[in-house]
């Protein structure tokens, strides 16, 4: 356990951090939008959207990864479009890993945000409107701050999930050391060879410590916000 990490492990850690941050942060606006739409609007197909958001949770990760490959691979309809139009390549790229992790985390994120959003007393928003705040301003100054606990919780859930995501990632972008090999891929490799347990556990611990730090940071933020609401 106390052996120094190999360069490959270091790069897996770096990559995992990058992927988890990207997944959590890029997922944030999408998750918020989905949560807002699901919580606030009634429209035909709402139930479907609700279901779709949950899909990545229900499907085995391998299936999700395979579907991602079908859609976002270079030959997939979306992937081809993205590459042709924006020059964005997701397959076999760390961005693809972030996409996979982000999608796997989305249900968690949306659920947390929606719960917070639905708990908000809408009369505060009404009050803000009478003070002259337009809908977007109300959203920015009242709704989002009040749902901060949910936003933080959702983001940390997505971040933690991204740190642990393996099945969809490896199926979609594979495991290219330094490019797409995240901590879980590295861990998995270790578990597949006799005697790899110690190295696997060591990397697991590192992932846990990272997640823990993120968790503590979010709790501190959340507490600060909460203390404010409760009157210092």
């Amino acid at each position: 356990m106390l052996e120094p990490l190999t360069p490959q492990e270091w790069s897996a850690i770096g990559l995992s951090l990058r992927v988890a941050f990207a997944a959590a942060l890029c997922g944030l606006p999408i998750g918020l939008l989905a949560a807002y739409v699901l919580a606030r609007f009634r429209f035909p197909g709402r139930a479907i959207l609700d279901g779709i958001v949950y899909l990545p949770l229900v499907m085995p990760p391998v299936v999700t990864g395979y579907l991602l490959l079908l859609a976002f691979g270079r030959r997939g309809p979306v992937g081809e479009f993205l590459e042709r139009t924006f020059g964005i390549v997701l397959a076999f790229n760390w961005t693809g890993a972030a996409l996979a992790a982000g999608i796997m985390g989305l249900p968690l994120m949306v659920r947390a945000m929606r719960l917070s959003l639905e708990a908000i007393d809408r009369r505060y928003e009404d009050a803000a409107a009478t003070l002259g705040a337009s809908r977007p301003i109300v959203l920015l100054t009242i709704t989002l701050p009040l749902m901060l606990p949910g936003i933080l919780a959702g983001t940390v859930l997505a971040f933690a999930r991204a740190l642990g995501e393996f099945g969809a990632t490896i199926t979609f972008v594979g495991n290219i050391p330094g490019v797409t090999q995240t901590i879980p891929s590295a861990i998995w490799s270790y578990t597949q060879v006799p005697g790899g347990e110690a190295a696997a556990l060591r990397l697991t611990l590192i992932a846990v410590v990272i997640a823990f730090a993120a968790l503590l940071a979010s709790e501190a933020l959340s507490r600060r916000a909460g203390r404010r609401v409760l009157g210092q």
Partner: protein, 234 residues
């Protein structure tokens, strides 16, 4: 109780057919738990209720043998397989698989899809073959590894990777890929699926199924899927 077989996942189609044949002839049901060989080995180490173990490589069979978890004289090599170099069906890439082949040139800036070269047997065989053919160093930085050989196959089938190394059995069943060449058997340790009975097994029916697997009656099931049946004792 039904006989429980722990078998490497890549054997699913073949073994399901074999088990069905066995049930038709004997009326007895066999349950097969498919998983990665490593997982199966560790489960057996934890006293999993398995009667028979079929591994995808010898290393994990050695692992359980070292821990006296199998009945030693029941260890046999059941099946063999080959590894092949594949390309998408539409590809016109050709290369002769031989020492000194310029695989890197054929790849261009594409990636070579393989199963994990440290952990997954198919990947390990591929790596050994490339090494013995002197192509490893030139392609080492251009490999995309998958957690199993099926994903590597999918990478090629989907056209994400121009080349891949998979089992002959997988390549044969996938119309979206074309086999460019078969790696010589001597370029890598032979692909072998060892079978053994579990020491802790108390199921009186286990032996019968074990014998059936090694018998000619099971042969068609494996050969249809493209496996080489290794004659008992060889």
């Amino acid at each position: 109780d039904d006989v429980v077989v722990f078998a490497a996942a890549s054997l699913k189609n073949a073994l399901d057919t074999a088990a069905a044949t066995y049930r038709e002839t004997t009326g007895r049901t066999v349950l097969v738990s498919y998983a990665g060989t490593a997982t199966l080995a560790k489960q057996i180490e934890q006293q999993a209720p398995a009667d028979i173990f079929i591994a995808a490589d010898t290393a994990w069979m050695d692992y359980v043998a070292d821990r006296s978890l199998i009945v030693p004289d029941t260890r046999h090599t059941l099946l063999g397989n080959r590894i092949v170099l594949i390309a998408p069906a539409a590809s016109d890439a050709t290369i002769a698989i031989a020492p000194g082949m310029d695989l890197a040139a054929l790849l261009g800036d594409g990636l070579l899809a393989m199963a994990n070269t440290e952990a997954v047997p198919a990947g390990r065989y591929g790596k050994a073959a490339l090494q013995s053919l002197g192509a490893w160093d030139s392609v080492a930085g251009h490999i995309v590894e998958a957690d199993n050989v099926r994903t590597a196959l999918a990478f090629v089938a989907r056209g994400e990777a121009p080349l891949g190394i998979v089992y002959a059995t997988d390549a044969a069943a996938e119309p979206a890929v074309r086999v460019i060449g078969v790696f010589p058997e001597d370029s890598h340790p032979p692909v072998r699926y060892p079978v053994a009975m579990i020491a802790a097994s108390t199921n009186p029916d286990a032996r019968a199924f074990y014998d059936f697997l090694l018998s000619d009656a099971a042969r068609p099931a494996f050969e249809t899927e493209g496996f080489t049946v290794i004659d008992a004792g060889s």
